[in-house]
Amino acid sequence: MITQIPLVYYLALAAALFCVGSFGALARRNAIAVLMGIELMLNAVNINLVAFWRYGAADPVVNQAGIVFALFVITLAAAEAAVGLALIIAIYRSRDTVNIEEIDLLKW
């Protein structure tokens, strides 16, 4: 079945997912929502990686590390989500807000 779906579909999906996630990261007010956008972006990247890995499986030139990379990405996403959320909680505790717009101490 896999051979009937062109690669382009997957790439398009990944692109769309990436853009959506990017929008969420850039336009949302809540810090956690921003984090969620980042997760979406990471997922889109993963889809890309796996798609390329699968469609290049027979080719000796294309790298076979796609899926391993994607595995590591998931791992890292987990770590990053943990630390990020810990940060958000710490900020929430001291500033009593999760509104990123209010965290602007480096403002001019």
């Binding site: 990261a25 850039l26 921003v34 965290i103 602007d104 403002k107 001019w108």
Partner: protein, 722 residues
């Protein structure tokens, strides 16, 4: 043989001066003794040289005694030396000067004592408080006069000339210092004496500066000032060939001769520099006799004598030098005589008389009557000194100079009267006194044309000279007679003065007698029957010039003799008519005052002092003349100019610099600093705007990063696709 010691002649009185100044200052007696000793020693030596000169006779002109052993100022290959030069006229001077000086020295020992009334009303005589200083000064003066007479070059001559000028200043102003104990001087006299001494010095200075200029020019053109070398024909011709004329129409010889003559005008008080001599009478009478009658003023004449070859050379090469000398002399002779007529001070009459007689000598020299002029110089010294000392005796006895307070003194002071009379007659030119022989000779030469041949066609000129001299002689007799009648004859005008009059002490009348003797007999030295003086002085020529013609005693000479005696007699009779016939009463004006404006002019001395001189008032104040004030005005203007304009320019420069500095400062603070500040503020503005980029909002940064990356990507893609 004695001639080798000629330099000692001035040295001895100079030594006396030094001794008085250094050692015997405190003792009046000793100082007078030292001074007189000095003069006597000089006299002995001078007589020795004179006798030796006489024995040389006329040959002396060709080989004068000469030695220049003391090298004083070497310059280049030459040097100025101190030495002696004795030719016949110099020898004659060596006879005259010490004799007259000695007489005056002896006279001074008595004159410089003043009678003084103390608190108790007792009269007693006291030495003048500065007695020793007086003798020091006159010793120095005598030394310098002798040095001048024997000097071997013009520089030595000039040095003596100048030092005598200083002595004159010091002695005229002798009574400008008043100590506590000087009772016979009042403040007015102090002022007058000081003003007179300064006036004398400054006036003669004018002449001296011109003399110095002439000397320098002479040195530059001829190359030497030594009398034996100066008149070398080749050296004299150098002057002519020297580059260009100094002034248009005036050759070098004439210019130099006239410049040197200006020294004589100053020193011998000729017009226009005569103004100092009458005021110089503020000094003590021995000073007047010594300096201003017999010796210093004749130094001026002696200068003309010594530069006579130059003068004749100038005349020969086309200039009018000798004519100028003659005119100045003759004019002064007449001019001064007129002023002498209107003086009330006994000494001032004699002062003008001196000026007038010096004019006679110069007129004689100017027309070429060299021997006559020289002889008059010698005889005049004797009788003028005699007259001054006589007047001094009168003043000393009566206590006043004013003739209108005297009268009838012939009874009280017979010796003085007789000697004075002899001197007066010699002055007037009566036969057979010495004055006659010398003065008559001058008049004769004026008639004849002089010894020395000069251009023909000068007849008018000589006639004018003769006329001036003859009229002068008449007036001379007039004022001298006036003087005698006012002083010695008639009723005494001031009883008190008459009361205290007495004959002079021996120390004073003895010199009078000696001088009178000389006056009587000296004339025969040059009488036409036996012109020994002429033979001695003029026969073989003078300083390299050709021999002088001897005048024959002919008809013209005889008629001239009678004429001159006649003139003198008529003058004397006129004086008797005015002053002697009816003697002037006390308080009355001078009878001649009826001449009105003329009399005013004469007694005001033609207002010359007010014009260019320095008028000394009776109370001791002095007022500068118009010319001097004008010069002062010019000076003040120049001073204002200097301050206003020159300083103004300097201040302007300073102000301008300050303005420039302020401008620059403004530029610096506004523009330069402005730029700097602008840089800062612009940077600040930009930074202020730029930093707003730091919103602190992470999402902003992220958006910009994404947009930027995307833009780059699109760029690259577009590039790769095209």
């Amino acid at each position: 043989m004695v001639q080798n010691y000629t330099l000692f002649i001035p040295a001895l009185p100079f030594l006396a001066f030094a001794i008085i100044v250094l050692l015997t200052r405190k003792s009046n007696r000793l100082s007078a003794l030292v001074a007189i000793t000095g003069v006597v020693a000089a006299l002995v030596l001078s007589y020795g040289v004179f006798v030796e000169a006489l024995s040389e006779g006329a040959e002396l002109s060709l080989n004068p005694f000469y030695g220049a052993p003391i090298v004083w100022a070497p310059y280049g290959g030459m040097s100025f030396n101190f030495g002696w030069y004795v030719d016949p006229i110099g020898a004659a001077m060596l006879f005259m000067v010490p004799t007259v000086c000695l007489m005056i020295f002896i006279y001074s020992t008595a004159y410089m004592r003043h009678s003084h009334v103390d608190e108790h009303g007792h009269h007693h005589n006291e030495d003048d408080p500065r007695y020793a200083r007086f003798f020091a000064y006159i010793s120095l003066f005598t030394a310098m006069m002798l040095l001048l007479v024997i000097s071997s070059n013009l520089l030595e001559f000039f040095i003596a000339w100048e030092i005598m000028g200083f002595c004159s200043y010091a002695l005229i102003g002798f009574w400008s210092f008043r100590g506590r104990k000087e009772h016979h001087i009042d403040d007015a006299q102090v002022g007058r004496a000081r003003a007179a001494s300064i006036k004398a010095f400054l006036t003669t200075r004018v002449g001296d500066v011109l003399l110095m200029t002439g000397m320098i020019l002479l040195l530059l053109t001829v190359g030497t000032l030594d009398f034996t070398k100066m008149y070398d024909p080749q050296a004299m011709n150098n002057m002519l060939s020297a580059t260009t004329q100094p002034l248009p129409g005036v050759e070098w010889p004439v210019l130099i001769a006239l410049l040197i003559f200006c020294g004589t005008i100053g020193k011998s008080a000729q017009f226009p520099l005569h103004i100092w001599l009458p005021d110089a009478m503020e000094g003590p009478t021995p000073v007047s006799a010594l300096i201003h009658a017999a010796t210093m003023v004749s130094a001026g004449i002696f200068l003309v004598i010594r530069t006579y070859p130059l003068l004749t050379f100038a005349q020969e090469t086309g200039g009018a030098a000798m004519q100028v000398v003659a005119i100045v002399g003759a004019f002064t002779a007449l001019f001064a005589a007129t002023m002498g007529l209107a003086q009330n001070d006994i000494k001032r009459v004699l002062a003008y008389s001196t000026i007038s007689q010096l004019g006679y000598m110069l007129a004689a020299l100017g027309i070429g009557a060299f021997v006559a002029g020289s002889f008059h110089l010698i005889t005049h010294a004797f009788f003028k000194a005699l007259l001054f000392l006589g007047a001094g005796a009168v003043i000393h006895a009566v206590g006043t100079n004013d003739m209108f307070k005297m009268g009838g003194l012939w009874r009280k002071m017979p010796i003085t009267f007789v000697t004075f009379f002899i001197g007066a007659f010699a002055l007037m030119g009566f036969f057979p006194l010495s004055g006659f022989w010398s003065k008559d000779e001058i008049l004769l030469e004026a008639l004849r044309g002089g010894y020395f041949p000069h251009e023909g066609g000068q007849d008018i000129f000589l006639q004018v000279i003769y006329l001036m001299l003859a009229v002068g002689a008449f007036i001379t007799a007039l004022y001298t007679g006036r003087q005698i009648f006012l002083t010695f004859f008639g009723k005494p005008r001031d009883p008190e003065a008459y009361e205290q009059a007495h004959e002079a002490p021996a120390a004073m009348w003895a010199p009078l007698a000696v001088l009178a003797t000389f006056t009587v007999f000296l004339g025969f030295w040059n009488s036409p029957f036996a012109p020994a003086f002429f033979h001695f002085v003029g026969e073989t020529g003078f300083m390299g010039m050709g021999p002088f013609e001897h005048v024959e005693f002919d008809q013209i000479a005889l008629s001239n003799a009678f004429l001159s005696v006649g003139i003198a007699l008529s003058g004397f009779i006129a004086a008797w008519a005015i002053y002697g016939f009816r003697s002037v009463k006390a308080g009355q004006n001078d009878p001649l005052a009826h001449l009105g404006i003329i009399w005013k002019m004469l007694s005001s001395k033609y207002w010359l002092d007010e014009l260019y001189g320095y008028k000394i008032n009776l109370d001791g104040t002095a007022k500068p003349g118009l010319l001097i004030r004008l010069v002062g005005l010019v000076m003040r203007f120049l001073w204002w100019f200097e301050r206003a304009i020159v300083d103004g320019l300097v201040n302007l420069a300073g102000w301008f610099t300050r303005l420039l500095a302020r401008l620059w400062g403004w530029v610096d603070s506004h523009i330069v600093d402005g730029l700097v500040n602008a840089t800062g503020s612009v940077t600040g503005e930009i930074a202020g705007w730029w930093r707003t980029m730091q919103t602190g909002n992470v999402q902003n940064y992220a958006l910009v990063a994404v947009a930027g990356a995307m833009a780059l990507a699109i760029l690259f893609l577009l590039r790769s696709f095209t």
